[in-house]
């Protein structure tokens, strides 16, 4: 029936299909649908920049306007991937620039971005509107100058946790006076900023809804900025301290007054530096907040933290440091009844100290916040009983990431592994898509995961399991698995090679400090030409014996349609 509709009608129908997965599904129905879908697709998501080439992207989707690209594997976040591994955006930008693609939005994660790339980007796409860089590196403020100066219709510049070399502090001043279209600006990861340019920029951009400042913006400047932008929905403060020498009461009074006028703020973050006595200034906006991120606010703890939390009755997402303690989490549980996402970060991320939260806090949260669906919890310890209780109270987890600071710690009460606890979680949360394990774990937990975690897409394993069986349970059972990352676990060639076809149904597999051997990896590479099997070898090449029986330190494999990459550094060996 659909064959008798003209293409335009199909296209119109497809307009309502927005998620890229749904559109992927649409394109598989028949050749006609494939054709109509590809010409009308505007938003493309590429989860691994080495799975496909820019030329093929351009060829298939000539109408692409918004592109998301991801580069390095996730464990690069934790220093497990050496510098210069790859993930360069340059070839993508060059290819897009050469084509007639009208790129408007670019979102990059864990990629290497150069100033030259940013320069080319800024000059090649007249309607470029949005640049979001997450955990990227390789560029300096010179690159930002190009973006600011050349992207006439820029709406969004969002820099999240990038490593940016700061040269001259001029880039913000490069936005021309005619730039009045900004909606979102985030430079929290920079150390410096040109304050005068910032205030002027805010003043002439009345549509600014999201503004995240950095540490270099003092309280006085924040007050002036908020005066100009009372329409903000999303605010990240910079430095929230009052200089002892300045006129405290006057600035503070002005700030309080200004904040009272900011009735639209729903998301609050920042506080990289904070003097707790200034916090009451934000109390008036607390009751409207739906997202509060205090995970960088090392200066807020104890009673000030509690006071703040008690005012935030409408919170849906809370990111916090473990200073909050179990008692503080109990208060969150009684205050934030709409809580959906909780992230508790370690105040001592070097693992040398103690986390101030335990299973008690988590159980309290689960009891008070049944809508909880996303959790990241760094804690001192966990028990099976607690996890079972959490599973019962909160059956809606989509993301469940638990990180016990001592990665192989058993249940401290029973001294048992945490298999049963995690088993309860996967059994009860039928929509679980992402899971990170920690604590003492045997193969049994993987049996449970294979049996129950039907929607699981991403699994992170560290220091867990006893034998190949563990990994096999997961590979056999989790039909929707896309990303599997494993470190320091006793899985070897037998598990790796049992079902080689599985890896073509997944985006990638990372295994480091496991038991897979060079020979095993070679066998896999030979059998599966459409996988890139990369061995990352940081040793001196001479010392590396090239013995097949040798265990491989780091292996990263991913499906690809374009063969071994040509930009691999010397220490990355792609097996064929």
């Amino acid at each position: 029936m659909m064959n008798y509709f003209p293409d335009e009608v199909l296209e119109h129908v497809f307009d309502f299909v927005t998620s890229h997965r749904d559109r992927n599904a649409v394109s598989l129905v028949c050749k006609l649908w494939y054709r109509v879908e590809r010409f009308s697709r505007q938003r493309v998501f590429i989860g691994n920049c080495y799975a496909i080439s820019p030329e093929r992207l351009i060829d298939r989707f000539p109408g692409v306007k918004a592109l998301t690209l991801k580069g390095k594997p996730h464990f690069a976040d934790f220093n497990l991937v050496p510098q210069d591994w790859g993930g360069y955006v340059q070839p993508w930008i060059e290819a897009l620039a050469r084509s007639r693609i009208g790129l408007e939005e670019l979102r990059l994660k864990r990629m290497v971005v150069s100033d030259e790339s940013l320069d080319v980007l800024s000059r090649s796409f007249t309607n470029f509107k949005s640049l979001v860089l997450v955990s990227c590196e390789g560029f300096t403020t010179d690159g930002l100058e190009a973006i600011a100066a050349n992207c006439r219709f820029l709406r969004e510049l969002d820099l999240q946790e990038n490593e940016i070399e700061e040269k001259k502090n001029l880039w913000l001043g490069c936005f021309p006076d005619s730039c009045t279209s900004l909606v979102s600006l985030n430079f929290a990861c920079l150390k410096e900023i040109n304050l005068v340019a910032l205030e002027r920029l805010v003043a002439r951009n009345p549509n600014l809804k999201s503004l995240k400042l950095n540490r270099a913006v003092p309280l006085e400047a924040l007050q002036r900025i908020l005066m100009r932008a009372p329409q903000l929905v999303d605010l990240g403060t910079g430095s929230f301290v009052l200089d002892r020498d300045s006129d405290d009461s006057e600035t503070y009074r002005k700030l309080r007054g200004t904040i009272l006028k900011c009735r639209s703020i729903r998301n609050l973050s920042g506080f990289l530096e904070v003097a707790p006595r200034c916090l009451p200034a934000i109390y008036p906006i607390c009751l409207n907040l739906t997202y509060l991120n205090l995970s960088y606010a090392a200066g807020i703890h104890g009673s000030e933290l509690i006071k703040l939390i008690r005012l935030c009755g409408k919170l849906q997402r809370l990111w916090i440091l473990d200073y909050i303690g179990d008692k503080g989490l109990e208060i969150v549980a009684s205050t934030c009844k709409d809580l959906q996402e909780l992230r508790v970060f370690p105040s001592d991320p070097f693992g040398a100290g103690h986390a101030a939260v335990t299973e008690t806090g988590l159980v309290a949260i689960s009891s008070g916040c049944p809508k909880l669906n996303s959790l990241l919890y760094f804690c001192q310890q966990m028990t099976n009983a607690a996890l079972i209780a959490v599973a019962k109270n909160c059956p809606n987890f989509i993301r469940f990431r638990l990180c016990i600071l001592d990665p192989t710690k058993p249940d401290p009460v029973t001294m048992q592994p945490l298999d049963e606890g995690f088993g309860a979680i996967v059994q009860s949360s039928k929509r679980l898509r992402r899971l990170s394990l920690s604590g003492l774990l045997t193969d049994r937990v993987f049996l449970y995961i294979g049996m129950y975690a039907e929607q699981l897409e991403m699994l992170s394993i560290a220091f867990a399991g006893e034998s190949d069986k563990g990994m096999l349970y997961v590979l056999n059972g989790c039909k929707k698995l896309r990303k599997l990352e494993i470190r320091d676990s006793p899985f070897g060639d037998m598990a790796l090679l049992r079902d080689v076809g599985k890896y073509e149904t997944m985006r990638s597999l990372w295994m480091s400090s496991c038991d897979v051997t060079l020979g095993g990896c070679k066998t896999l590479a030979k059998q599966m030409p459409r996988l890139n099997v990369e061995i990352i070898n940081e040793n001196d090449q001479m010392e590396f014996a090239h013995e097949d029986s040798q265990k491989v330190e780091k292996m990263y494999l991913y499906r690809t349609l374009v063969g071994p990459r040509k930009d691999a550094p010397e220490f990355v060996w792609t097996l064929v």
């Binding site: 976040d77 970060f345 370690p346 990665p407 058993p410 003492l440």
Partner: protein
């Protein structure tokens, strides 16, 4: 933590090797690393002093002995259980992004001078959680000293010649203060440098208690040692 169940064994010789090579030592240059039968290494940083009767890390030490029995000598994790500070050596754990770690890390390196020593050392105050830990680290660093801990005053002594040192520090206002008066965190905040001053010169700082402690010191030398 029961080592019997711990069968993951990070096979990463690379990681283990590098860690051993780059393991922090606070001994004076030229000092060799000595390993005792219990596997405890001298010259490497410890999070607590064994000369002081603390419960800190006691269970960790026991665990380490078990670890030795399991032949996990170069085991990164086994080594890490020795003391809380050494846990930091486990690569990529806890899984926290570098950008977040950088924000939390304040890194307070200060100079430490000892009267009579030919050169100064630097310590990162953020690495310690208490005065005890700091003083024991200083003890490791200037290995000729041992700690004598009386009342609220902390002193170091060179047993070879009986010379006593008093730990002092320069605060933000430029004043020289006696270490130990204020809560630890406050001390970290305000300390700019540390000087281990010869007791004989330290009279101006805490005259009365100093004399009392001198008396106590003489008394206790004739009793069982704290070690």
């Amino acid at each position: 933590m029961s080592p019997e169940n711990r069968n993951y064994m990070p096979e990463s010789d690379v990681v283990g090797l590098n860690l051993k090579e780059t393991e922090l030592t606070l001994g004076l240059p030229g000092e060799t690393r000595v390993t005792t039968d219990t596997g405890v290494k001298f010259g490497t940083k410890r999070g607590f002093s064994e000369t002081i009767d603390l419960n800190l890390g006691r269970s960790n030490v026991k665990c380490h002995d078990k670890v030795c029995d399991d032949e996990l000598e170069n085991d990164v994790l086994g080594g890490a259980t020795k003391s809380l500070t050494e846990k930091a050596q486990l690569v990529g754990w806890p899984p926290v992004r570098a950008s977040r770690k950088n924000v939390m890390k304040s890194c307070k390196f200060i100079k430490v001078a000892v009267d009579g020593a030919p050169y100064l050392r630097k310590v990162d105050l953020e690495m310690y959680n208490s005065y005890q830990q700091l003083l024991s680290a200083l003890e490791d660093m200037f290995s000729c000293l041992t700690i004598r801990n009386y009342l609220s005053e902390r002193k170091l002594m060179d047993p070879a010649n009986g010379v006593e040192y008093v730990a002092t520090y320069e605060d933000r206002d430029g004043d020289w203060m006696l270490v130990g008066d204020v809560p630890w965190k406050m001390f970290v905040e305000s300390c700019k440098r540390v000087r281990l001053m010869k007791s004989s010169e330290a009279i101006g700082l805490a005259p009365r208690t100093h004399k009392n402690v001198q008396a106590q010191l003489r008394k206790s030398l004739s009793q069982a040692s704290l070690e």
